[in-house]
Symmetry: C6
Subunit: 290 residues, 6 copies
């Protein structure tokens, strides 16, 4: 547990590219036929767009599919490799494709995550794609054409995607502003699957499993989730994610009183507005009355 890092001549050579395969089955409860749809799209090599609010399970679903898909491919290793990129306003094409770095007397090329995906036949998951800079378009478009090409302009190369490669984007329709919308020339290259929060029983099961709280507490927290999401028209920009309900469950299972746990994990986290906090706390009190 020391922060000292040895800096030797070998330091720079030690780069190893990760194999991002999940080694354990991620916990995922299907809601409808989304697993079938994704499997067919994957086999048909049709790019997929996942739409839905914050924390409703899109990322977990992709992880689950990447773990599950290997059986259908007859692949001995576990699952399809999954490479995830959290997009942001400064994410540029070079960050995704790769760049040259100077090493001593030589210049070496470092593949970016999308290039690694294309070479490895991985699922490349671009989370919140509308946040990325627009030059990423240059990469997405030819990869979604029937020829599935990735231009590496700086190398003067064109890569053809390996068999198992699939491009998956996610975005949150509630977020989009005029400035940050997915252009039609981009979005009309994908089949889309819309997600929403899991139904109450299913969410309770998730909370119980991930927080080790009692089944009763989990059910109450799932109810809380439902009710808070209905507060949206009372000034709440976004519903509560399953993740925050799990946090509340973990604090409860460690002995924090439920109302205090919900205040910390749900109320204060969701909003800074005093009035909205009050509305949520009333919901909390109605569910955990004592």
């Amino acid at each position: 547990m020391t922060t000292t890092e040895a800096r030797t001549d070998h330091d720079y050579k030690q780069i190893e590219v990760q194999e991002f395969r999940l080694t354990e089955e991620p916990f995922y409860l299907p809601v409808a036929d989304e697993v079938d749809l994704f499997e067919i799209a994957y086999e048909e090599q049709i790019p997929v767009l996942l739409k839905g609010p914050t924390g409703c399970g899109k990322t977990r679903f992709v992880e689950y599919m990447s773990w599950r898909l290997h059986q259908h491919l007859g692949d001995e290793t576990q699952g399809v490799p999954l490479i995830t990129v959290a997009c942001h306003e400064d994410l540029s094409a070079s960050d995704l494709v790769g760049r040259y770095l100077l090493e001593g007397d030589e210049t070496v090329w470092i593949d970016g995550p999308i290039t690694r995906s294309v070479k490895a036949g991985a699922i490349c998951y671009l989370d919140e794609i509308v946040e990325a800079r627009k030059d990423t378009t240059v990469l997405i478009h030819p990869l979604t054409d029937y020829r599935r090409l990735l231009p590496l302009d700086k190398r003067g190369e064109l890569l053809e995607a390996a068999e198992g490669f699939l491009l998956v984007l996610s975005y949150n329709p509630g977020y989009q502003s005029a400035l940050k919308d997915l252009k039609h020339s981009t979005r009309q290259r994908f089949v889309a699957i819309e997600f929403n929060y899991p139904p109450r029983d299913q969410e309770a099961e998730i909370i119980r499993r991930e927080s080790n709280c009692s089944a009763d507490d989990a059910m109450e927290l799932a109810k809380l989730g439902e009710k808070v999401r209905n507060l949206k028209e009372h000034g709440l920009a976004e519903g509560v994610s399953t993740r925050l309900l799990v946090y509340a469950g973990r604090l409860i299972s460690r002995g924090i009183a439920p109302r205090r746990a919900c205040q910390t994990a749900v109320v204060w986290g969701l909003t800074d507005e005093f009035e909205v906090q009050r509305s949520i706390e009333e919901v909390v009190t109605s569910i955990f009355p004592e």
Copy 2:
């Protein structure tokens, strides 16, 4: 299927410039005399501007022409090389022309796609040109003069375009805002061909061929396309592309129920607005009633 990339002293030398010739005839059904017009423009060395909505077939048309044109030139090899660039907000002149990179003790020049086109006598297709940064103008203008010159300022050179070179731009008039318009001093250097979605029978044929669905389903999907495009005045920014109809056909041919296939491939992909989704779904239900 491993992501490991060997990094050796030879790595950087292995750059090979692609020969972007299509080796198979792309499927393209002509609508009017656009093939003749393009052939004459190509022979007369008049630059061409393709206008039309998202997914109406502009890119496929250029690919088809690049494959078809070699017969008219008496060239033994297959077609004219085609170099495509998907333009975006950060695309600069250097990205198109090329740049110097440092390699060990030396600096090497890497040709960009427009320079490669000029040298190879290729068709250079700048897709969605209005998205590019304005310094790209400096390249387009002298290439469309009668002298067809490409200035490589950083090398102090002027290149004269090889015989077969042609500059082709595309843009989507429905997209343009005041900020992102093609300047008159640019657009008045091109002949323009306007495209629209293919007529119903022709689109049904395309859907059937590319999705392996039944001729009946293909015809229903083509009808769906027509009707959805008429919803434009009901808040739909852009009509549905043929590509999305093909996706729907492929899902249907894999056993997904038509209404579910259309929801995934057409409804959710086209729009995030609940009301507009409802309108499209009504159209879907009217065509696939069961």
Copy 3:
């Protein structure tokens, strides 16, 4: 005390990474159960968001927790290492993760503060996180997932956080504008603890300890703090911090008259508006009448 810096061949090698462990117990008086909540969150590896106004003690609290936590971990050394970053508008992901620097013929990698935290199992405290550039999101999100990963894109690596690592953010809800808000996809990854200024007796005790002024003066200054914070609706953007009250106490203990000390440390520091200065001075005069 000379400014001359020897520049030798060894200069660049002398980099030593600091061990940011506190060696003395920072003075902190708990207000509620915030110490318990933080301890449980730390053990449960749930990221923590501290909310509250300027100078109410958030930073001191984190320092205190980093000093206190080692006992619970059975660690022989003192406390958990704490790495603090004051965020600002130009802070980018590279500043946090690290970058390559050229050294002679070689390129060496310099870990940024978040990478050092992840390796060392430290508490990483990002103060005023909303000030940072948005590309920092790419780092925060996977570190708050159950897998606790830090992608080092430039090295093609994924780091798994060491056991003791915890991400702690702070922000001041009074500051936030629409432009600089914490996105929901970020904030729903944290439990939140809201802070406020300490109650009067407790603040007096802090002032006395840190300024060496008399207990009476300390109590008067704490009263002053309370009253000034109530002036908020009279045009004062932000209440007075405990720190400024401590400054006033130190000037008083050095012989400056209380009203002059308060003018210098509180009135002139808080605001430039003449009218608001007058209101605060009236409060000062009512407390230090002579």
Copy 4:
């Protein structure tokens, strides 16, 4: 016709600066005394500003003058060298003056187009100057003073322009916005010549010569030009350039029906607005009635 580029150690040395002298007389029909005015300005070393709409012949005029002027100078070689720069929003002073590039162990200086002009005694033609970045001002001003100096700040040098050097700017007054105007401190350093489209007979002659169409078709196209330019108050931002009329002539001479040729070369190229297209098409129909 291969795109492969050999990259050898000699690659970077092969830079040759072009001698941009025109070897054939460009076709130019004078309208008034502009040839005399330009000749006197050239001999008097008074910088020249060419004003006029898109495609009215400014560039052709400068080319013609550069070809014609050598006779008056008693120079044995053909004409005065001409160096043309199409200005754009990202064009900076360094692009015009030159910059240092790293070559192996050394840094070499690459002259930009304005420096080459100054050294060669060339006409330096900055087309659409208001598009360039404002740091270009630093170059234009001292070159238009009586001392005709070019500061190469990065080299700590001042160059005195060679005898035959002349600075010529063009701009389109119809384009200028408040943001992109030529500053008075700049424009008051030039004599100005205003251009407009050539009169009908003259334009017909140009169209006939450059398109190989019949004299009748050429005259009809010239009439079309005149009438379309009168549509300006009907929403057409800019008149039709002679160049587009030449394109129409070339399509006609290749067998395309005149109305179709005009649709492609004139209607679709000029505007995206359906109503304005209709107005132009009515003009086309009135001229080519069958």
Copy 5:
């Protein structure tokens, strides 16, 4: 007096860091107890914020204090070193902290002014701090904490400030806009001293000493200063600085008629508005009637 600079292999090594100690007592006339306040703050290591209008003597005061303070420290050398930085919109943290520069085969670190101050135990005076870029915050905050740390992120180091170090900021409250305000989280780290122009007699004494004009002229100029500052509500954005009055005195002592001297040094310098110039000239005429 030649501009030629020898460029030898030793050029780069000849860097000498200045010892910014004042060797002569700067002329400063105290107005109130500001000297005492500053001395106590310096001994208590409380950072100081100087507020006041342009040219009222803030910079001179800091220079005076840096010269005066050495006696109190029992230091044999003259005064405390003073390092002054005039802040501006492009001043970044790297400018203040330092950066790596490439020298031949090695990279050397060059300390910035704040690092030199921290090492030397100097007074670091950031003049017009609100003009600087916001990333400077990252430096100011930890230096004003009780631990007085300067993070050198690029070196992975933390510096503890040497004993005599003090951070002093200045800013002009009349200037601040909403965009360029000192944030509360910054300003609540300082004691503040407000400055204004010196009273008439004192200003006359300053003018006489610094311009060598007669005592009478100096007194008249001081009156002029007073009256012009009262014109503020007549459209004058800022009062006249003592410096401009000294300029007028120097022109007068060189034989320029007082009204002409005031026109040049005061009227034309203060404003470009004709009406406001007239008002000031009336004041000048009333004081220098002949």
Copy 6:
């Protein structure tokens, strides 16, 4: 007269810093006592601000003073060196001070124009200073203090200006907008001299001398200048400069008819507005009636 530039190993070493001394007396006719004022300011080392409209003779005046001043300094060489910088929106402090450049294995420092001025004891003339970026402030301020220092931050040096150094700024008050004003903390460091166009007889004399036209034509052109400047309230943003009148005189002396010469040199150059052009042409016709 060839554009080929030899690129040898010696290329980069051949930098010679110019000695910008004028070798011939520039033609300048004094209007008032501006020569005396400037001489005293120069001897008193008081920085000078020249204010006035475009083309009224500010630059010529500085050139004249730099030529004239050597007699007063008892210097054997001709005049004081003059270094002129035309400021623009991208001009930064580094452009003025200097920067490091890489040369083979070494880094060499290249002085910028202000550093060369400070070392050479030159007059440094920053033309249109408000156009420059704000980081230039950091240079101007300490150079106008009584200590006359130039901080070379990148070298860790402070330069004291050589004896003959003087900072001279110019700016055009008619141009300034709120965004581009000289800050009070800057302008209150200068004495200011306001310029205007020369009176009619004097301007006629200038036109005659510089254009070789007849005294009569020169007088008519001077009258034209006067009248055009009175058109300012009719939509003309800026009056006509003496320079444009000289151009007209030169065209007339080469045989161009006066009305045509004025159209080219004055009317078309001054404005693009048709109505304003008409007003000026009426003035031209009234003066040159035939």
